[in-house]
């Protein structure tokens, strides 16, 4: 369990997440891709904190902020989807040519 191994796993998660974000047509699935990328970021942050930064308390803080970002991303995402869905009955990225009203 070296730092390199952990970062490799994190990179793999970010790669898969990016694939998901770019390829999925459904908003909700797109958000799953984002979450997976953040998952990788989280792992990398904790890996650095634990194995390279000697456990400085601020490192953990970065991870906590990442988690908060995830939660924010999800609630904003769902709010947007709900709003768009009401107006357009759409949950697909293509059906949303414009972000106006």
């Amino acid at each position: 369990m070296t730092l390199t191994a952990i970062l490799l796993v994190a990179a793999a998660l970010i790669g898969i997440g990016l694939y998901g974000t770019l390829s999925q047509q459904s908003f909700v699935m797109l958000m799953m891709g984002l979450e997976l990328m953040l998952n990788g970021v989280l792992l990398a942050a904790v890996g650095f904190w634990s194995l390279a930064a000697g456990g400085v308390p601020t490192g953990q803080l970065l991870a906590i902020v990442t988690m908060a970002v995830m939660a924010v991303e999800m609630s904003v995402g769902f709010a947007l989807i709900t709003a768009v869905y009401r107006n357009r009955q759409a949950d697909m990225t293509e059906s949303l040519g414009t972000m106006k009203h």
Binding site: Q25, T82, Y85, R86, Q89
Partner: protein, 416 residues
Amino acid sequence: MLERLAARAPVPVFVAMGRDRAPAVERLLRNADIDVTATPRHASILLVAGRVRDSDQAYLDRLHDQLPHPRATFWWGDEQGDDVDEARRAASSDDPVVALRVLYRNLISGAHASETHRLADEPPAPWRGKGDHGQGGEGMMGGVPYGRMMPMPPTPDIRDGLTLDVYTTQIGPFMPYWPAGLVLEVTFQGDVIQSAEVVNPTYPPRDVDRVPFDHLLHETTALAQIERARAAHHLVCIARLLSLVGLPTLSRRAQILAARVRANETIAIAPLRKAAARSGLKAALAPGLGRIDDRLARELGGPVQRAAGHAIDHRSDNPTYTRLDFTPVMQTQSDCRARLAQWFDEAEQALALVSAAPDAMIDHGALIEAPWAHRAPPIDYRVTELLPGLEWSEALLVLNSFDSAALCRMAPLEAP
């Protein structure tokens, strides 16, 4: 070892309620040696109580095949064919508890072979096409699915501004807390009923508590007998509702009280009522839930009508009752709460009449109010108009806040 332990457990029985056995089956609910299960998956014996109409035979077979092995079917009633062996049937006048225990013990020891599938083990409609189960076709939605309906057809209907797909399913005829025989095709959105359609009507009600009323047609009958029957009928109705709101122990207590009333014992309903009230029964039945309009209440008659605030009761005109200062009890709100309160009030009043005049007799042919709704021909109001918009648990509460005679008139009777 396992067999020996299992043999001493309460017998897990699923009851398929046939045409005329409803009240008798309630006897089983009180028996600690019988465990009446909520689903066939938990039962070892399928108890077919009474006659099942031919069109329900397929439902019965499907039910049967859902029982886990080892399983057996037990027929309780008079019209069962002679091809059923002695161990698996009882006459309608018999108490089947002992027979059920014996059958169960033989079943788990292997002396009685488990019954095989009655239907072929295949999906009710064929899966044809792509996917793990052959359930779809090409394209984004899986294209046009072959072989069977799209499981969740899209709908324009919006609740809360969000479209949740609806799904349609058949419910009945042997579902617990469901009018026996009734098959509804219900469309749900989430757990809210969108629409319902009658596929098969209910079985006509047959009541043990009817006996003194039938008797009265020809012979002079004791007032006590009639009023006891009334109290018993109401207690059984109360028991069903209590069980639905998650008070199974109080429900069983109501069943036991009903049995004791029928056995001419002196009982008090007040403790049960107090216990139920303390349990938050009022909170469980939201005010206004299941409110019906005046016209429907009048058409249904009986306690339903009085719960709507109409003091119409044939007993008011009977000299025996007027001598006892009888005045009909009634509620005003005409909702589930009111109907439940009406049952409690009428049952208590009935027992008060019994203790006030234990020896009073009523002349034969006298017109005496029955404990249930009018048994006139079906009315144009359908149970399917009652359910839409209700959440599933509320729908069941509303259904069970009517006696079976009222339900029968709302879900039209089958042609005789």
